[in-house]
Symmetry: C2
Subunit: 349 residues, 2 copies
DNA sequence: CTGAAAGCGCTTACAG
DNA sequence: CTGAAAGCGCTTACAG
């Protein structure tokens, strides 16, 4: 069923059919109704490709999620609990705005070509990227495509410093630095002096912010930064688990608390410590980051910094759509607060 | 940059450019290389819409995930831990096969129109649907569209009984009945006689299979089915939590074990029982279903039936793609085994 | 208010 | 081996 067929059945021309579909004002109600009826009857839907080709947008945005893990490994992106709410929220918001979403997972550096490809092939009107590593060159290339692109969790300083603050880009972050400061201060307030950290990926914006905050709070309190207190988890559960196990097995002196760069690694730490016979928070205090569903599923419930994923992803969608529809035509950036949620995983010393 | 431009730069016609792009055999290597070089230089990518319009497929499949929850509620689909691995796995598999995936979440009955729309608008070559409720009419309508469609978790009997086993459809399931039988038998072997169930959605295929198996095993062992032992969780954590709390508060006699229709509800049961001062598995044994990441995160680790989500979603993608590319042209169905994974949440009475 | 026609950027018989 | 041309199904000035 093509518009031509509808036109014939309704006794009008394709032009008129197109006009009613696109809600042009210059169609008298009777004509409109006549056409609409035929469309309804035959469940006609205009071919999206033809529309796109003829100049209408595609009404689809791309969602590119950068994996923290290798593709080959069993540990894929879904191991990051932020993946699900993120995707879900982006899809919902986009759908409610009349947009479809094309989703892609990025593992290796060369996968960024996929983003470029999707833009160049005009499959999408704009893109949202989450979890990008510090890779200005890649970003520069993408930005130069002129397609609307919103980056979630990316260093604004780097964007601006490299003159990448073009009118087709937007950056959405959470205030991870502040949240991390609050978390570590909380531990100090509870009397902790020996505070370790299970690190995320420092080549990630949020990862480095979280670490910098940790470092800075310790320093500002005159507390030493013990290298063996800093575990390299790379945001991955397995890594965190093995690192904690390793520390435990080494017999080295332990900190009394750990600030963990995400909830997943906190969960892994729970596991490792429990297997070692430690009880939380009696023998070790733990603070997470993300406040994903797992935070309240853990026993004891995890004290953690809340990243407002829903707000962020919603904002991201609204932003790309605005950019696509030319409602917004300037570089913009938003940073959402990331408050500490105190629960039961830390004790007063 | 259009194929015309490439053609000019390479000193050939659009036809030839198209031939090299589509890997036609009748292009001599020298011509091919010449064209390829220009394409490379200019990072040319053929407009996907024009290609699609001209007869090539769109190379994108639709992934429609039916939510267990209402859209308005805070409890959205991502609360189901199967969402993430599912989406992730479908996306990965599709991508590796050169397909893009359009993702959509379905909340209400009218959202099924979206599936139809996407097909009718030719946005997708085929669709995968997960979590569909028992709704033959909807399925019938979708199937009649002639677009390739693979249903995950749907009653094959219903499909066949309604002559919906058309050549454009395929059904992928896991053997939930067998898995559930194994789970309940395991409890009985451990000496349990008073076995409750936290039910999923019975209007879902897997939900009803899991329940039927429970019922049938109890009956076959001559054990009574106590109505107040059967809690209505609808696959949702909150519901399960409240149901358990309610049972606990009612002061009624408790079963010694619960078979739970998914891991999420098992986690909720853990929470409710723990808050009541119960210890697992000492005071109550619990078996889950899914074997999602949460199963091993819970303490004690959850004994649960494993649903091979990866295998299922991979198979689903391969199937739609085969259907799209006409490699397969007959109704087909696959059921994956769902074995019981024994861990630490059940005790010998 | 409405139709004929050009154009969007490809692919693919067809002819040579 | 290769080009000219028709066609895919729309939209949108343009003319009336």
């Amino acid at each position: 069923m093509r518009s031509e067929d509808i036109a014939k059945l309704a006794g009008v021309s394709r032009s008129t059919v197109s006009r009613v579909i696109n809600n042009y004002p210059n169609v008298p109600p009777t004509t409109r109704d006549k056409v609409l009826k035929v469309i309804e009857q035959h469940q006609y839907q205009p071919n999206s490709y033809a529309r796109a080709l003829a100049g209408k947008g595609t009404n689809t945005i791309g969602l590119f999620v950068v994996s923290t893990a290798e593709k080959t490994a069993g540990n894929r992106i879904y191991q990051n609990n932020y993946f699900a709410p993120f995707v879900e929220s982006v899809v919902d918001t986009a759908n409610s705005l009349g947009y479809y979403v094309l989703i892609h997972t990025l593992y290796a550096l060369e996968d960024y070509q996929k983003v470029k490809q999707a833009c160049l092939q005009k499959r999408i009107d704009g893109a949202i990227m989450v979890g990008t590593r510090k890779q200005v060159e890649v970003i520069r290339e993408l930005v130069s495509l002129e397609a609307p692109i919103v980056l979630i969790d990316y260093d604004i300083g780097e964007i601006i410093g490299n003159r990448l603050d073009r009118s087709n880009v937007s950056v959405i972050n959470s205030k991870d630095y502040d949240g991390a400061v609050e978390a570590v201060e909380h531990l100090i307030t509870l009397g902790h002096r020996k505070i370790g950290m299970i690190n995320g990926s420092v080549n990630t914006f949020s990862g480095s912010e979280r670490y910098k905050a940790y470092e800075s709070v310790l320093q500002s309190h005159g507390l030493p930064i013990e290298p063996h207190y800093i575990l390299n988890g790379e945001f991955l559960k397995q890594n965190a688990y093995h690192e904690v196990k390793g520390l435990l097995a080494s017999g080295q002196e332990l900190p009394t608390a750990f600030f963990t760069a995400n909830d997943d690694m906190a969960a892994a730490a729970y596991e490792a410590f429990k297997e070692f016979g430690f009880s939380i928070p009696n023998d070790i205090s733990i603070v997470g980051f993300d406040d994903g569903p797992i935070a309240t599923q853990l026993a004891p419930k995890l004290t953690t910094v809340q990243v407002p994923i829903y707000d962020m992803s919603k904002e991201a969608v609204h932003k790309v759509v605005a950019l696509c529809e030319q409602t917004v035509t300037a570089f913009s950036t938003v940073s959402f607060p990331a408050p500490l949620i105190v629960r039961d995983s830390c004790r007063q010393l």
